[in-house]
């Protein structure tokens, strides 16, 4: 590769990382936390700690009464019945009812598996916020809502893919860089080596997560665009062409199959039981029930088939249930992205790799600022880079502390349940903005990082104490015979808190102003490469050790 091309590629890598690095960091970090959506739900909601009755109570009469009471003869747009699982140990009914000249009304109900008694509704809170913040940044409706947010997150996936490709191309000595980590050299070299080592070792995972994330995100814009172009704007026609024509209601009432009988259905070739059923045209002779099972071995979130809601005969459910190579590939992206195919240990592996990717992004931005604030690169006044540095530190560590704060907020919230998500969001942004403000006020990004990380660790441990006070469930439940998921979340929070304190304790309080020199004898013994060490000794005697860096042009984009 010639030098000009190498520099262009390097510039593209650094500028794509800089321009959207914060977005990438936000999406990646929130995604790492959102991996534990179901576990955190169990931790935040005491109703999810109930046991599942054996045998559970028959639900059909209760469910049909609930539908009749709420629909009152009005059309049901959407209906879903969910069976109990370890993460949600109760029956759930959800429906969307459309009254004439009114907006569709969404209703939801949970029932105890032993008595069939309705369980109190709990508003969506921290777990939902963290998951949706990762998926669509909780983008406000007046700016395009979830579709716009999801598109932006998809574009972040594209940028991450581009950064990965340009990053790999920029590394001409990959095998050497995989093992080069010079901890005691200049700050810049230390960060640069860590950026490369973490980036190269986790490369397959980052590539997968960027690609699947881009697909899941850009689908939101790609489908309408293709509709506009190939179907002359008819998006419904496009959906019908891909998913199949939906069946129309006949208008003739009929008795529906019992949800208790349907609970015994099995997926052919698998022992998994029914997880949930979505119902179209409920109460009509043309009712269609989509039966979903937990996946057995395939990389799928769910699998299933469609039946007639009156006769139980299998019907053609369109491409949703049709297995082709393309659908197999496409449906594998969600489980691959969210790590749902291999148990909680796989989620921890994803979490560690996700945090590594967040650190890589942070290091990339820190290097960019460091070169300009304390190096010869950069044409702007130092004050500009100082502000960028403070903003970056505040935004990055602010996101960490805001996420940790939500754990405590969830336990002390006493407002209306339907407003829980709203106040969760307000609290999240308030803490985040306060952290950014603190970064500017404190005038020392090293101290800011150290102090905010310490505060995060304290919040993580406080959440465990608050959980014990509010629900009487403690870490000791791990040794009991009852519900354990919440106790394992408690344990994880304590471990994470201690790890965060350890990291914060190791971080410097301020920048070491001598760290640019890189002329310490001890450095020579840190090199993992013998050749580097020999070169280091030669250079030391020649008094010319300089950080090994790529020259960067002052112009952002070369022609």
């Amino acid at each position: 590769m010639d030098r000009a091309r190498h520099l262009r590629n390097y510039d593209l890598h650094s500028w794509s990382g800089l321009a959207l690095g914060l977005f990438v960091y936000i999406v990646v970090f929130s995604g790492s936390v959102a991996l534990f959506f179901h576990e955190v739900q169990s931790w935040e909601d005491p109703a999810r700690r109930l046991g599942i009755a054996e045998p559970p109570i028959e639900m059909n009469a209760i469910f049909t009464n609930w539908i009749d009471k709420h629909s009152n003869g009005d059309p049901i747009e959407f209906l879903r019945f969910t069976y109990p699982t370890a993460y949600a140990p109760y029956y759930t009914g959800r429906a969307s009812i459309k009254r004439e000249n009114e907006e569709a009304k969404f209703i939801s109900q949970r029932w105890d598996t032993s008595t069939g008694a309705p369980l109190p509704e709990r508003g969506e809170g921290m777990s939902r916020w963290l998951l949706d913040f990762h998926r669509d940044l909780m983008w406000p409706d007046f700016l395009g809502g979830h579709t716009a947010g999801r598109t932006i997150v998809g574009i972040v996936g594209i940028i991450l893919m581009l950064s990965i490709v340009t990053g790999v191309v920029a590394h001409t000595k990959i095998t050497k860089e995989l093992f080069t980590l010079r901890f005691f050299r200049s700050i810049r070299l230390k960060w640069q080596d860590a950026h490369k080592v973490l980036g190269l070792w986790g490369l397959p995972f980052y590539s997968m997560i960027a690609f699947t994330g881009a697909i899941l995100g850009v689908l939101a814009i790609i489908a309408p665009l293709i509709a506009v172009l190939t179907f002359k704007g008819d998006q419904t026609a496009l959906m019908n062409a891909v998913l199949g024509e939906p069946v129309e209601a006949s208008g003739i009432s009929a008795e529906m199959l019992s949800v208790d009988d349907l609970a015994d259905l099995k997926m052919p070739g698998s022992n998994e039981r029914v997880r949930f059923i979505t119902m179209a045209h409920y109460g009509d002779t043309n009712a269609r029930f989509d039966i979903y099972f937990a996946p057995d071995k395939e990389l799928k979130l769910v699998e299933g088939y469609q039946i007639n809601g009156v006769t139980g005969e299998k019907t053609d459910g369109g491409s949703t249930f049709r297995t082709s190579t393309a659908t197999r590939v496409l449906t594998s992206f969600s489980p691959l992205h969210f790590g749902t195919y291999g148990g909680v240990l796989l989620k921890f592996a994803y979490f560690i790799l996700g945090i590594m990717l967040s650190v890589i992004t942070a290091l990339g931005m820190m290097m960019w600022v460091e070169r300009r604030r304390h190096g010869s690169t950069g044409s702007r006044p130092k004050k500009v880079y100082e502000w960028v540095s403070k903003g970056t530190a505040g935004t990055m560590i602010g996101l960490v502390i805001a996420s940790a704060f939500l754990l405590c907020h969830d336990k002390v919230y006493t407002g209306l349940e339907e407003k829980r998500l709203f106040w969760t969001g307000i609290t999240f942004f308030l803490v985040w903005f306060m952290a950014i403000g603190f970064a500017f006020f404190r005038q020392n990004e090293y101290a800011v990082t150290k102090e905010l990380l310490t505060a995060t660790a304290l919040l993580l441990c406080s959440a465990v104490v608050l959980n014990a006070i509010k629900t009487n469930d403690t870490l000791l439940a791990i040794f009991g015979s009852g519900h354990k998921i919440a106790a394992y979340v408690d344990l994880s929070l304590v471990v994470l808190g201690l790890a965060t304190i350890a990291v914060a304790a190791k971080l410097p309080k301020a920048r070491d102003h001598n760290s640019n020199s890189g002329r310490r004898l001890s450095d020579l013994f840190i090199h993992l490469s013998l050749k580097d060490a020999v070169n280091g000794i030669r250079a030391l005697f020649a008094n010319s050790i300089k950080p090994r860096e790529m020259p960067v042009d002052k112009e952002p984009f070369r022609k």
Binding site: N9, L162, F231
Partner: protein, 105 residues
């Protein structure tokens, strides 16, 4: 079409042409790589043989790959104007094909 809309489109086109002339690689990576991806995949969807649902799913899967490949190429090519010229040409040709094709219904 409303004359105001036509004027608006005209202004946008002139601005795009100016920006492309001034910074061909930058406009290519931000705009033309995306337009070329969308229009070329739409043409593929129209003319590649096979069941429509299958084609649509495969093309959706390949959209991010094509998009990133084109973005990467804009800074890879030694000749600074070539990516912009080719991507604009692809957009125009594919746009023309789509405009004169019958809708897939």
């Amino acid at each position: 079409m409303s004359p105001f809309l036509l004027v608006g489109i005209g202004i946008v086109m002139i601005a795009l042409a100016g920006a492309t002339f001034k910074a061909p690689r930058l406009t290519s990576i931000v705009i033309w790589a995306l337009t070329a991806t969308v229009f070329s995949t739409a043409v593929l969807l129209l003319y590649v043989p096979g069941p429509f649902a299958e084609r649509a799913l495969w093309i959706t899967i390949f959209v991010p790959v094509i998009w990133v490949a084109l973005q990467f190429w804009t800074y890879w090519d030694r000749v600074f104007w070539r990516p912009a010229a080719i991507l604009v040409l692809v957009t125009i040709i594919c746009g023309g094909i789509i405009f004169f094709s019958d809708p897939v219904i």
